[in-house]
């Protein structure tokens, strides 16, 4: 047995090795790179740890950064499980934030909190779901690859955000390209900076895990993801499941956007889209597409983002280094490829990217 085969056997028996190994190796590679650039990686890592878990305030920052990743990561894991290559969580998050802001500042600004809070979250969910459903319709009805559709819709959503804050949602004083501050009734209940959305995001990840693995609906989604042809022979409609997966994932990402404006930024502005939709792919892969494992994976990337700021201030290491870690974690998760990720990596997709409409499959 050769060394790679032995390693593969080990990963087969203990998939958690890959889950722990990927981020550790990624940070190791980055530390090595920093050393080669003449930085001192030790103090940088220490500053990052202090910035993410050093005190109560740092932990709160970590949780706040992890919260949108939790929702978008769950969204990506859910759609990948159904074989839907949804890389549009970024656009879905943005659309959710825009619609939640529209609800809070324009449509129902005077509603009491017990009405406005659910309305805003619902608006966010509807926005994300609508954008994802558009991509779903393009795939199901017109045979357009969802990869291309969700990718392009990200940019449409980003420019829609820019239009909104320069136009219909711009603050009343029209001084800056940003929305009015959300009315107090639209703000999530919070203890200090820690808002209720963080707990709700965790609950939604758990609920998604339950849906996927404990309900018939979840079984249908996964069946289509494993083999659309077999699922069709079993009487399922892959088109329907694809739409379900996209709408659900879009709603989760849209809620992430709503929570950001309702709990963190309290206004809408262009900088709101910070890449949480792309980081989500790293989160989902590290979690091996399991929503429960998304909890620690999101926490890891949240801590990374929270710590990066402190690292830049105190050790002079540019915070963009986090994106290198994200990219490496994705590659290493694929490379270590255990269990579901290897399945996802090795499986030829059921249909080519932009070929015949899915409806014509046998």
């Amino acid at each position: 047995m050769t060394a790679p085969q032995r390693a593969a056997r080990l990963l087969e028996r203990a998939p958690w090795v890959a889950t722990i190994g990927a981020p550790v190796a990624a940070i190791g590679i980055v530390a090595l790179g920093l050393a080669l650039l003449g930085q001192r990686p030790g103090p940088a890592l220490a500053a990052m740890l202090r910035g993410s878990f050093g005190d109560a305030d740092a932990v709160v920052t970590t949780l706040l950064k992890a919260s949108p990743l939790l929702l978008t990561g769950t969204a990506v894991a859910l759609s990948f499980r159904c074989g839907v290559w949804n890389i549009g969580a970024e656009g879905q998050l943005v659309t959710g934030a825009v619609l939640a802001t529209a609800m809070a500042t324009r449509i129902a600004p005077d509603a009491p909190a017990f009405v406005l809070l659910p309305l805003c979250v619902a608006a966010g969910a509807a926005g994300g779901a609508a954008l994802a459903a558009l991509a779903g319709l393009l795939r199901v009805k017109r045979g357009v690859s969802e990869v291309i559709a969700t990718l392009l819709l990200n940019f449409v959503a980003l420019q829609a955000l820019a239009l909104a804050v320069h136009g219909p949602l711009q603050e009343t004083s029209a001084a800056y390209p940003q929305s009015d501050a959300l009315p107090a009734a639209a703000l999530l209940p919070a203890a200090g900076r820690l808002h209720l959305g963080v707990a709700l995001a965790g609950a939604m990840a758990v609920a998604t895990a339950w849906l996927l693995f404990r309900t018939p609906a979840g079984f249908r989604l996964r069946a289509v993801g494993l083999s659309p042809v077999a699922a069709r022979f079993a009487g399922l409609s892959p088109e329907r499941e694809v739409m379900h997966a996209l709408v659900l994932a879009g709603a989760l990402a849209g809620i992430a956007g709503a929570f950001e404006v309702m709990g963190v930024t309290r206004r809408l502005f262009e900088g709101l889209a910070s890449g949480a939709g792309y980081t989500a792919i790293a989160v989902a892969l590290l979690a091996r597409l399991h929503p429960l494992a998304v909890l620690p994976a999101a926490l890891f990337f949240g801590a990374l983002e929270a710590g990066a700021g402190a690292m830049q201030r105190n050790a002079g290491v540019p915070s963009v280094v986090t994106q290198v870690v994200q990219g490496l974690v994705i590659l290493l998760s694929l490379g270590f490829g255990a269990g579901e990720v290897r399945l996802l990596a090795g499986r030829a997709r059921s249909r080519p990217l932009a070929g015949e409409p899915a409806a014509r499959e046998p």
């Binding site: 357009v144 559709a149 994106q323 990596a345 080519p352």
Partner: protein
């Protein structure tokens, strides 16, 4: 009006170059959505090298090599190891954004120098044609290179044996394999050549369109180039027309703004993406994507 024409062609050049690189890759059945990152690496590599050596030509080559280096990572994971192409492409984009950011901040701190610029080249004779001459034939070399390359790629796919093999790999990797074509080798070579072109296209941003490098300066151009390949229906001629169309849309935005039309600029930025989606959604007939696009090829056990 001729200013509009000139700008349209000038802006279309690098887009076309990047799209042609992606076209080469996609015709062999591989989709690289890491093109944005490849262009960004090319932009940084070209800028850093042009600043260090003072020679924009060396910069352009380095840009291509930098894009190609990232392409090698993509090829290793997505082609050789057969990991999912979309996921690897996403990782490539994240890596490029992070690496170029760290490198530029480490190298230059707050004071980013300016790079030596690549000027325009007047084609002798043609540039003397009244009105359209100066607009069409006094352009940066990127434009001529891209147009010549479009022609060359068209001939390569239509008229040469290797071109036929490449297309066969994209349409049916299994059939090509049975015919004795080395599927993995063809795909790796296509990725390396294509990402070299992507890197060269990226070098146009700091060396021809502005003289500095800024983080994330590709600003979605790699994704527009992806859209151009689809919009152009995977044919060199179609891709050329699509690139000119998007270049013109971009130029029109500046032209209208310069004339004091108060148009919401996000609408213009949204335009290429929305048009591509609309075309994909409303086009009838069979999409002409390579049949095996996005599929990893695994030889079945004998």
């Amino acid at each position: 009006m001729d200013a509009l024409l000139e700008a349209a062609l000038r802006l279309a050049g690098p887009l076309l170059l990047a799209a042609l690189g992606e076209l080469l890759i996609e015709r062999t059945g591989v989709i690289n959505i890491g093109l944005e990152g490849v262009m960004l690496c090319g932009a940084f590599g070209a800028f850093a090298c042009a600043v260090a050596t003072g020679s924009p030509a060396i910069g352009v080559v380095t840009g291509g090599v930098a894009g190609c280096a990232l392409g090698a990572v993509f090829a290793l994971f997505a082609v050789v190891r057969r990991a999912d192409q979309i996921v690897v492409g996403t990782a490539i984009n994240l890596l490029a954004l992070g690496l170029t950011g760290v490198a530029s901040r480490t190298l230059y701190g707050g004071a980013v120098p300016t790079a030596p610029a690549i000027g325009t080249v007047a084609l002798p004779g043609l540039a003397a044609i009244p009105t359209v001459g100066p607009a069409l034939f006094v352009q940066p070399p990127y434009v001529y290179a891209a147009l010549a390359l479009a022609l060359a790629i068209g001939l390569f796919f239509r008229r040469t044996r290797p071109g036929l093999r490449w297309r066969a790999v994209g349409e049916s990797a299994r059939a090509a394999d049975a015919e004795g074509v080395a599927v993995t080798r063809v795909r790796v070579v296509a990725v390396l050549v294509g990402t070299f072109l992507g890197g060269v296209a990226g070098s146009a941003l700091p060396l021809s369109q502005s003289n500095v490098f800024t983080e994330g300066m590709t600003a979605g151009r790699g994704f527009i180039a992806l859209a151009i390949v689809i919009f152009g229906r995977w044919s060199p001629l179609g891709v050329t027309l699509a690139a000119l169309f998007f270049g013109a849309a971009h130029a029109l935005q500046f032209w209208l703004q310069a004339r004091g039309f108060d148009l919401p600029y996000p609408l213009f930025l949204m335009f290429p993406y929305a048009v591509t989606l609309a075309v994909l959604g409303f086009s009838t007939g069979r999409a002409r994507a390579p049949e095996d696009l996005g599929r990893a090829y695994r030889r079945e056990a004998a």
